[in-house]
């Protein structure tokens, strides 16, 4: 049976924990709004970009001179997995769910006899994957110093990926990130970025015949690397929003749990306080009776 002093200490420690989680929740809520705004802002660019690129790719696809980024290397032996996770923990199952999806993929690819390489973005995923797949790591992008996620960060990741592709280090690249659905639900997603895949636009009625300057293929060669950067950028933004959403709900839960715990401890504290008083009374009364 803990003493009154012990209980008091525990109550005050849980109270300060609650204060911290509450503060973290509010910070996450503010950051989430900013992250969502950023994701919203980037949407028009991404949509239009993919539309144009999709149309272009559709018209060039099939020709033997199609750029490698679109047509692939013709093999699919070496897979590069770009795993995007958070730089910080305390965000519920956010990091673990991305890592879990990655593991499933790695095992599947290995079972099919492919070579797997892993590029990590964000510290947490790297830590979790290190034990099992440490030997597969080919690189790491550190974003812990980045305050506000910009296109420049996406570009540097893309540059890294493209340089490896040019060097023939891999045939297929897939990015792993969490798609933001709502504050309480984020879906871990795998998306293939090299060779580029587009949802084929099948609205033949509206398609306009464009003049291309310079030629279609030159434009495509110019746009495809940008397409990779754009996809990475939107994945990073989604991921940032998801991270904050996950952290917000995790911290909300923690705050509520702390509240429950305080209630329980307070009841216990009051009970034992009463027990002490009763004991003292009994002692006084029996002392008086003995006289």
């Amino acid at each position: 049976m803990p003493s009154l002093k012990d209980l008091k200490n525990r109550i005050s420690s849980v109270k300060s924990t609650r204060k911290i989680t509450k503060a973290m929740q509010m910070v996450a809520a503010a950051k989430l709004r900013r992250a969502q705004d950023a994701a919203e802002m980037s949407r028009p660019y991404t949509e239009r970009f993919n539309k144009v690129l999709g149309a272009l790719a559709g018209s060039v696809a099939g020709s033997s001179t199609a750029p490698k980024l679109l047509a692939g290397t013709g093999k699919d032996d070496v897979h590069l997995l770009v795993v995007m996770t958070a730089e910080r923990g305390l965000c519920g199952g956010f990091n673990s769910s991305i890592v879990k999806l990655t593991r499933i993929h790695v095992e599947k690819l290995r079972a099919a006899g492919k070579t797997v390489k892993i590029l990590t973005v964000g510290k947490k995923g790297r830590e979790q994957l290190k034990r099992d797949y440490g030997n597969l790591f080919v690189g790491h992008v550190d974003l812990s110093e980045v305050k506000k996620l910009g296109y420049a960060e996406a570009q540097s990741v893309a540059k890294d990926v493209l340089a490896r592709f040019d060097a023939g280090e891999f045939d297929v690249a897939t990015i792993f990130y969490a798609k933001f659905q709502s504050v309480i639900s984020q879906t871990p997603t795998a998306q293939q970025i090299v060779p580029a895949k587009f949802e084929t636009v099948e609205d033949a009625g509206e398609s306009t015949l464009y003049d291309y300057e310079p030629g279609e293929e030159a434009i495509l060669a110019d746009l495809l690397p940008r397409g990779v950067a754009t996809q990475i950028f939107s994945a990073l933004l989604e991921n940032a929003a998801s991270e904050q959403g996950a952290r917000m709900s995790a911290m909300d839960n923690a705050t509520r749990n702390a509240g429950d715990m305080i209630d329980r401890l307070t009841i216990e504290y009051n009970r034992s306080r009463q027990a002490v008083i009763t004991n003292e009374l009994i002692e006084i009364i029996s002392g008086a009776e003995a006289l």
Partner: protein
């Protein structure tokens, strides 16, 4: 009254402008061009330069570093980086030139000779960037090539 068309200038990070305009001057990769309403549909890539947007209320200028433009019933410019002319200062500009210079140097260093186009491209990008500086009245920090 002059005819107008819808014009959008978007960068990956945000949408910079969306308005009815009468004409847009675009720094195309193969030369400048001006798109007015009813322009033939075309897609062109951009080189670093000045994007001039003429609306009925006046003219706005943006410095763009690259990207592409889609001209159809409406004009959409997807710029990698776009800065309103008024916001362009020496520091921002120098950072851009610096970036172009670095990518040129790194390509040149990595040049193995089997892809000569890329180094030339980077050099051209750098030159365009420097030309932009002269054009907008900033001191074009001449990098030594």
């Amino acid at each position: 009254m002059a005819e107008t068309m819808q014009f959008d200038l978007v960068s990956p990070e945000r949408s910079l402008m969306s308005a009815q305009v009468t004409a847009v001057s675009i720094p195309g990769a193969e030369g400048d061009l001006t798109a007015m309403p009813m322009h033939a549909p075309m897609i062109t890539t951009l080189r670093p330069g000045i994007l001039k947007v003429e609306t009925e209320k006046g003219t706005q200028e943006f410095v763009v570093t690259g990207g592409f433009a889609e001209i159809g019933a409406s004009v959409t410019v997807l710029a990698e980086k776009a800065v309103p002319h008024a916001d362009m200062d020496q520091a921002t500009y120098e950072a851009l030139v610096q970036e172009a210079h670095e990518s040129y140097l790194s390509l040149k260093a990595a040049d193995t000779g089997n892809e000569p186009g890329r180094v030339a491209e980077a050099a051209k990008l750098l030159q365009d960037m420097v030309a932009v500086g002269t054009h907008i009245g900033l001191d074009p920090k001449q990098p030594n090539l």
